[in-house]
């Protein structure tokens, strides 16, 4: 890693999710040198944690695979994982990006054979499954992880467990003495693509996410539906492992609410509509989905998708902002209380499981490292794009995958323009 070469014609992309990967690939394919920085041990971001995309309901692994192939095949892209940006200083054409690269304790010799994890028994929460289950503290972040290289959790360092892992490795790939490294990268332009994170559902107190096992979030539901997830694709509710067949979806959970996120997170309606398909896929006519909504925002050309779900007899729509949720102590069922505004009927509706369609908020605060304007929700204001730092994807707004990729391509074009301008100045 010592030999990271960067010049003022280099584009640094921060964030290795779908937006950052797109930006990196697009820039490199026009002949620019790119350094792609990712804070976690693997590229892929939150898209990799989805079971299926809307509207075509294909698997994200497919799109990821194409992107990874483009990325791997391009010598102009340098990927650094476990890399965290500390500071960006300078101006367009001349940035200094300070980066800390955290130790993985596993080097390039790793073949992902998994022998190191064999003797290890210590377990830690699995962030890939939103901590719904545990994994060994020596792990491959996910099946689609890039790089395909194991990691050792820092909590193991100095314990006999780490030594066991080292002894089990047949490729001399484990280096327990690895230290954090500080790098300063030169860059002509920066693309900031740090994505989003789900709103902290525990803050929506009347819904009891922090108190009731069977109130979960939409991102967690993705993991339950995924065959690679903690339940191997079975929709089992957390309290008792029972199959959840009657599922409530609450829209705008934390969005469009002055107590929480003021903005519309734009993707959540489509996400829940999509998830009713998972219920149908698993249970056929025996499954039951109920969507509690303020209004359905199936933006743009997704209206068609919405109409199809509307026509599904197993899906009910109740126009209501749920007031609160209580738990039936005996059964663990959730009981949703509120008023159906179509007819003004009060309801106390019992369900097996409740999925909160949680909103999107920025994944990282760019203001901690660079002087860039953000809007009231913390998203980077595109118009403010100071000379050479450009927001991309969900760092700029609540976007679906399609729009995030478009945004990334647009930002990359701006970054390329800056770098080209620099090249011209130097050529004169």
């Amino acid at each position: 890693m010592a030999d990271v070469v960067a010049t003022n014609e280099t584009i640094v992309v921060v964030g290795g999710g779908i937006s950052g990967m797109t930006a990196a690939v697009e820039a490199a394919e026009t002949g620019k040198d790119v350094i792609l920085l990712e804070r976690s041990p693997s590229l892929g971001g939150r898209v990799n944690q989805l079971y299926r995309y809307f509207p075509k309901l294909c698997h994200p692994t497919c799109g990821m695979e194409i992107n990874l192939r483009r990325l791997r095949g391009n010598p102009r892209i340098r990927v650094l994982t476990l890399a965290e940006v500390q500071k960006i200083e300078g101006k367009a054409g001349d940035y200094k990006v300070s980066v800390t690269v955290h130790p993985r304790y596993v080097n390039e010799n790793c073949t992902a054979c998994g022998a190191c994890a064999g003797p290890v028994t210590t377990e830690i929460p699995n962030p890939f499954n939103y901590n719904l289950n545990k994994m060994k503290a020596v792990y491959l972040p996910s099946a689609m992880a890039y790089p395909q290289r194991y990691c050792i959790d820092p909590s193991l360092i100095g314990t006999p467990e780490a030594e066991k892992a080292k002894a089990a490795c047949p490729h001399d790939a484990i280096d327990l003495g690895m230290q954090a490294q500080k790098l300063t990268l030169t860059a002509g332009a920066v693309v900031w693509a740090t994505g989003w994170r789900p709103y902290d559902a525990g803050k929506i107190q009347p819904y009891g996410y922090d108190r009731f096992a069977n109130v979960i979030t939409s991102v967690e539901f993705e993991r339950l539906a995924d065959p690679r997830g903690p339940t191997k694709g079975r929709i089992l509710r957390p309290s008792d492992g029972k199959e959840a067949k009657d599922i409530a979806f609450i829209q705008c959970a934390g969005s469009r609410d002055r107590n929480h996120l003021k903005h519309c997170s734009r993707i959540c309606c489509m996400a829940s509509l999509k998830q009713t398909n998972y219920v149908r896929e698993k249970y056929g006519d025996d499954g039951k989905s109920t969507i509690y909504y303020i209004d359905i925002r199936a933006i743009d050309r997704f209206e068609d998708f919405y109409q199809k779900v509307r026509a599904d007899g197993t899906v009910r729509f109740i126009k209501s902002k749920v007031a609160n949720i209580t738990e039936d102590r005996e059964s663990g069922d959730v009981v949703l209380h509120g008023v159906d505004t179509e007819g003004y009927h009060r309801y106390d509706a019992r369900h097996d499981l409740c999925v909160l369609a949680v909103g999107m908020q920025p994944g990282a605060d760019i203001r901690a490292v660079a002087d860039v304007k953000v809007d009231a929700s913390g998203f980077i204001e595109v118009a403010s794009a100071t000379d050479g730092i450009f927001g991309a994807g969900c760092a700029t707004n609540a976007l679906d995958v399609n729009r995030a990729v478009q945004s990334a391509t647009a930002s990359t074009l701006r970054a390329i323009q800056v770098v080209n301008r620099m090249a011209k100045v130097e050529g004169q």
Binding site: Q205, P206, G208, D210, R211, N324, T326, E327, R329
Partner: protein
């Protein structure tokens, strides 16, 4: 000099012979053990309580509280105002909040004080705080634990928070749906809290206990029943109205629903007084309708 000093008013429910006079007795004992001095606001008046919202009108309601606060500013300079009653705290805190954000209302309130012949101007210099806030924030749980000489071992107690110390202001850092400060206080005095108590913020019915007994008793039934379900032998609360409603209607509820409720309902200050070594009398346990026998037994033990 005392460790802490506060400007204070007990409110109507804690007056002599009123329903929560035993709350006052126990607060005095507790404060003595904790070396806290409460300086009563002279000639304090009603906070407006529920009547102020129902018929009193906005200005009179705020003038009532502004008067208490203005006297406090004059007499107990530099001290925070502390209320033991949840309604007093809520009313006074709301007034302070409103008058700070509405200069027109502030001018009117001060004019009313002048018209009443009081040589007073409300300035908004002092904070308005509930006794529980003072205990938790100024002393802290560790300090509150130090004087415990008679831990309430073996008792399981449900912390019933109610609404007024909880919404809309709440105790800093607490969740509105699952506030835990009473559980912490129960732990500190050596008893076991009911951590899963799911009716801890259910409304007790408030003043509707008089006008809508059926509805409020349905609420109270849930509150008491859930405490029994979790194996609690006592309910503890920070609010005189909660205490009154949840305690005294148990007999009527038993008639209405055929239940056999007999659950003592006490104040946090009574638990603390007993745990700090006070007698049953010092803890005001003689003011209970449903006797807190276990607490009395512990209070009768030698320290």
């Amino acid at each position: 000099m005392a460790r802490k000093e506060y400007s204070f008013y007990p409110g109507c429910s804690s007056e002599r012979r009123a329903s929560a006079s035993n709350y006052m007795v126990s607060v005095e004992s507790m404060c003595k053990k904790l070396d806290i001095k409460l300086n009563e606001i002279p000639d304090w008046n009603c906070c407006g309580a529920s009547i102020g919202y129902a018929q009193g009108g906005e200005l009179p309601r705020h003038v009532m509280n502004a008067r208490n606060l203005a006297i406090s500013e004059q007499v107990n300079k530099g001290q925070d105002v502390v209320a033991t009653c949840a309604a007093c705290w809520l009313g006074a805190k709301e007034t302070k909040d409103r008058l700070a954000h509405d200069s027109g209302l502030l001018a009117e309130a001060n004019e009313a004080l002048r018209e009443a012949g009081m040589n007073l101007t409300y300035k908004g210099e002092q904070e308005v705080r509930h006794m529980v806030e003072v205990l938790i924030e100024d002393l802290g749980y560790d300090e509150l634990k130090k004087p415990v000489v008679r831990p309430l071992e073996g008792m399981k107690i449900a912390g019933y928070v109610g609404c007024q110390t909880n919404r809309p202001f709440g105790i800093a850092g607490e969740s509105f749906e699952n506030p835990k400060y009473l559980d912490h206080l129960v732990e500190i005095v050596g008893a076991e809290p009911v951590t899963g108590y799911d009716q801890k913020v259910t409304c007790c019915g408030g003043a509707l206990a008089f006008s809508e007994p059926e509805k409020s008793q349905a609420q109270i039934k849930k509150i008491v029943e859930s405490a029994y379900d979790y194996g609690a032998e006592m309910i503890v609360t920070p609010c005189p109205v909660c205490q009154m409603n949840v305690e005294i209607y148990q007999g009527q509820i038993n008639k209405r629903y055929g239940t056999k409720f007999n659950m003592p309902v006490t104040y946090y200050s009574q638990l603390m007084t007993v745990a700090y070594g006070g007698s049953a009398k010092e803890a005001g346990l003689n003011g209970q309708i449903v006797r807190a026998s276990r607490l009395e037994e512990i209070a009768a033990k030698n320290r």
